[in-house]
């Protein structure tokens, strides 16, 4: 395979990543509508999200196959190798994001309304916006190979964790005020947890960008 053709293949892989990322971004928007827009046709939106998740799964398989073939026939080295390894890792992260977004949509579809939940829902909306931005930024960082933006995403993950803690605290207060809300509150805790995990996956993608650009593996460094 010529270098030109190999570069074309790499660009195709990046386009597939962009398509998967676009799906995740849309799923989060639609999940947000399910949870926060009272007039939304929740069932219809849920079906759209489910179809997107199926599309992501099929893109994941396709990408995995292409990466496997390129590794086998091209024996890439240096940045080419790091690029394919990053694409493989990002592929997995995006597929997980798709699963998590579908789970959020499912929980959102079944939510019951109550005035007591207003503060928690406000926090949850703030978290969803924050996570959506992390997803957009990590994908931009990946596509544009922008290490600085990737490092900003990694920093943003702490705020996502804090927001989740805040939501859990608010929901505990709700339960103490009205125990009948326990099921709904648990669903909302679930939504916050899934959002936090999407944030973690966005962080993973950002770490892949740093690896792609520098060759350094910075995973788990903030835990030390």
């Amino acid at each position: 395979m010529s270098v030109k053709l190999f570069d074309e293949r790499l660009n195709e892989l990046k386009s597939l990543i962009a398509s998967m990322g676009g799906c995740v971004e849309q799923m989060l928007k639609e999940a947000s509508m399910i949870i926060f827009q009272k007039q939304a046709d929740k069932e219809k939106l849920y079906r759209v999200i489910r179809d997107r998740e199926i599309e992501i799964d099929s893109l994941q398989v396709k990408l995995g196959k292409y990466c496997f073939r390129l590794l086998a026939v091209q024996s890439p080295v240096a940045k080419d190798l790091r690029m394919i390894l990053s694409i493989i890792a990002t592929n997995t992260s995006l597929e997980r994001m798709g699963d998590l977004s579908l789970n959020i949509a499912k929980r959102g579809r079944d939510l019951k309304e109550d005035p007591l939940l207003e503060t928690s829902l406000h926090c949850l909306e703030e978290m969803l916006i924050h996570i959506s931005l992390m997803v957009v930024d990590c994908l931009d960082a990946f596509i544009n190979e922008d290490e600085n933006l990737a490092r900003q995403v990694i920093i943003q993950d702490r705020k996502a964790d804090d927001l989740k803690e805040k939501i859990c605290f608010e929901l505990k207060s709700c339960i103490l005020k009205n125990t009948k809300l326990i099921d709904t509150c648990l669903q909302l805790v679930g939504v916050a947890e899934k959002l936090e995990r999407i944030g973690d996956q966005a962080t993973n993608i950002a770490e892949e960008v740093v690896f792609l650009q520098t060759g350094m593996d910075i995973k788990h460094q903030q835990q030390k």
Binding site: F6, S75, V77, A78, K79, D80, R82, T214
Partner: protein
């Protein structure tokens, strides 16, 4: 290949200092500085005409054999410059053996004599000692099992891969401390290539290997260190694992990814 981080201090066997080489007016190498570690495999890579072969031929004073060829600088082997006045090139080449691209067993000589010739020239005449050293060299070159029953056959009757291992055995017979190899597998098919590559890995326990290759994957598989040459200059000298994952120099990256 090991994933372990080496904490042991590596011992330098050859120190190349400010080495420049010429063929008449044409400069082939300019100001090469390099430390070759003992019992490591160092691969020399680079495009055609970059000075790879000239470089290794400077390591055992073969460069000066070409008419009009000369050099400046030092090649210090175990503390002694091989270009010092009074150094004997023959003795140096015995200590720094060389295997060439095309296997070159001595024509008209048996397998046994091909290996024994260096020993005989160095004064060993005792048959039992010769037998022992020939067998040991052929074993070290992973050829003994294939040839032990017909040592009197001509060296040239062997296959290409066997001939190359015979040449390695010939070089090993005189106990060199360094083995230079100039594209040792480029004339061989994949199975013989695999044999030689495995052999290089084993050999590094007893000798320091420096080899030239055009095959990037071979350099990646076999070597511990990579020296990348371009236009007669040493662009990068790095651990192989780093060179192929995160090269220091953009020219190295361009070369190994084919974007030159």
């Amino acid at each position: 290949m090991s994933f372990k981080k080496g904490k042991m201090k590596q011992k330098t066997l050859i120190e190349v200092k400010a080495l420049s080489a010429w063929f008449k007016k044409s400069q082939a190498l300019s100001n090469i500085n390099l430390l070759i570690e003992k019992n490591k495999v160092t691969a020399i890579i680079g495009p055609s005409g970059c000075g790879k072969s000239t470089f290794i031929r400077c390591l055992n004073r073969l460069h000066e054999e070409v008419e009009g060829a000369y050099l400046k600088g030092e090649v210090i082997l175990e503390g002694k410059n091989i270009y010092d006045l009074g150094s004997d090139p023959v003795l140096i080449r015995r200590n720094i053996g060389m295997v060439f691209q095309k296997p070159n067993p001595f024509p008209g000589m048996s397998i046994y004599d091909n290996v024994a010739i260096g020993l005989k020239l160095s004064g060993i005449k005792k048959r039992s000692l010769l037998d022992e050293r020939v067998e040991r060299s052929l074993r070290n070159a992973a050829l003994w099992k294939e040839v032990k029953d017909h040592l009197s056959r001509s060296g040239q009757s062997l296959s290409g891969g066997q001939q190359q291992r015979l040449c390695i055995a010939r070089a090993l017979a005189v106990n060199p401390s360094v083995m230079l190899m100039d594209e040792p597998t480029s004339a061989l098919e994949p199975i013989s290539t695999a044999w030689i590559e495995e052999l290089i890995q084993k050999l590094k326990n007893q000798v320091t290997v420096v080899f030239v290759t055009h095959n990037m994957q071979q350099a990646a598989r076999v070597s511990d260190r990579i020296a990348f040459f371009l236009n007669g200059e040493l662009v990068e000298f790095n651990k192989t694992s780093w060179f192929f994952t995160k090269p220091k120099h953009s020219k190295s990256e361009d070369y190994i990814t084919g974007r030159f």
